[in-house]
Amino acid sequence: MKYLFFILLFSSSTFAKFVADGCPMESVRTQGPQGFYCAPLYGLFPQPQTDCIVCLQMQLQRQQQMTAFNPWLMQMPFPMMPPQTPWWAQQGRMMYPNLQAPGAWQYPGMNPQPYPGNAPVFAAKPNVYVKNSSKTKTSFSMKFDLKESKSTFLATTPWLENNQWSGEIQGEEFRVDKVNYDYLFYDARMPHESMQFDAGWCINRADLVRSMAGELIQLGFSPLAMSDFYEHWDQKIPDEPVFCVYPQYNKELDAALPIQVKPAVPFLRVLFVLVPHRPDDKSQPVFPPLPRQSHFELRTKSIEGDLQFLEWGVAFLDHRLIK
């Protein structure tokens, strides 16, 4: 049985090739227990059960990925693990039929019609957290520079005063206008020109949130930030079989929506742009292309210092941009 398994595993290298750099045409980067590798997009979709040998290879490969996926993540205690359905999701499902979408949804992206602005990247819920290892109190401000940007806000908490939040940092919370916030929140439409659509990975819906969370852990996000990420995005991603993830880091985001922070502390930003795929979609989409490049070199280097700001977000594209 062991020999059969090894024969199947090695022969499956035709379909799944571990690579450090780019993937060949007709394949995409995806994530499995041993890291990132190249595989055909169709291999990521749920397959009907058959007894053909190729299907058996792929089924074994998928089972291996499911059971051994990120074992280091599975061992982490709560709150790294997905929480129960949050109270607001239970209420929201009864009030709104589209709760599971990030907003007005029109496959394969956002319906822009009900929203202000023109930019095609709908950044839903970038949250900004503060890490304050010395626990000292200090004043802060975060100012969005919209003059040079095509970005438009859709929502913020707390509200902005002249495109700025200001107040005090108390422990690992922001205190604005005498109220403590675990994080500062905004939704915004951002331009896509400064963003990258070559590097990333594609993965089935069941593993999607965990794969993005794995990236956040590597970047050093706090347990609270991870818990909020799971709580929100377990609920707010449409039920499509496969998503391609295009991570954007400081370089791309600072160009799309610059933020000035005071004091001048390290500020790590990451935004995962998600594009869904169905089995009958084009195998070679025009835009965005399937991700074949590694995102490792794009990552912002991990930041250091007693005081740090870290921002995570997930974004979807205007459906008209996807071709």
């Binding site: 109270w87 607001w88 209420q91 929201g92 009030m95 709104y96 039929p97 589209n98 709760l99 979408a101 907003g103 007005a104 009900p114 929203y115 202000p116 602005g117 438009t152 806000f153 859709l154 929502a155 913020t156 908490t157 707390p158 509200w159 902005l160 206008d177 005498k178 109220v179 403590n180 916030y181 675990d182 929140f185 939704d187």
Partner: protein, 104 residues
Amino acid sequence: MKWLLLSLILSSPVHALSIKGRVSSTQGCGDGKVMVWLSKIAEEFQQKELLMHTLVPLNGTYEFYVIPGQYRVEVSTEKGCEEHKNVFIVHKEARVDFVLKAKK
């Protein structure tokens, strides 16, 4: 009347309008966060379409940026306190505060 409203909407500048407010509560609604939901009210929608939502700590503030139209802002807490207000926004910022009260 419809034409007057329509012309008002069309002639309004195309800059982002907003619905903003503060959320507080009396006793009985808990001291946790409040979810503020924004949905679009339109005749063509058989059901409400959720546009955005945000979790706000008690006494905290929120702001939604919108285009002219009719909206519903709903707030709810884990303890089951809830309230809603309809907002028709044409060209001015709308202030929509909530003071949640426990159901009797």
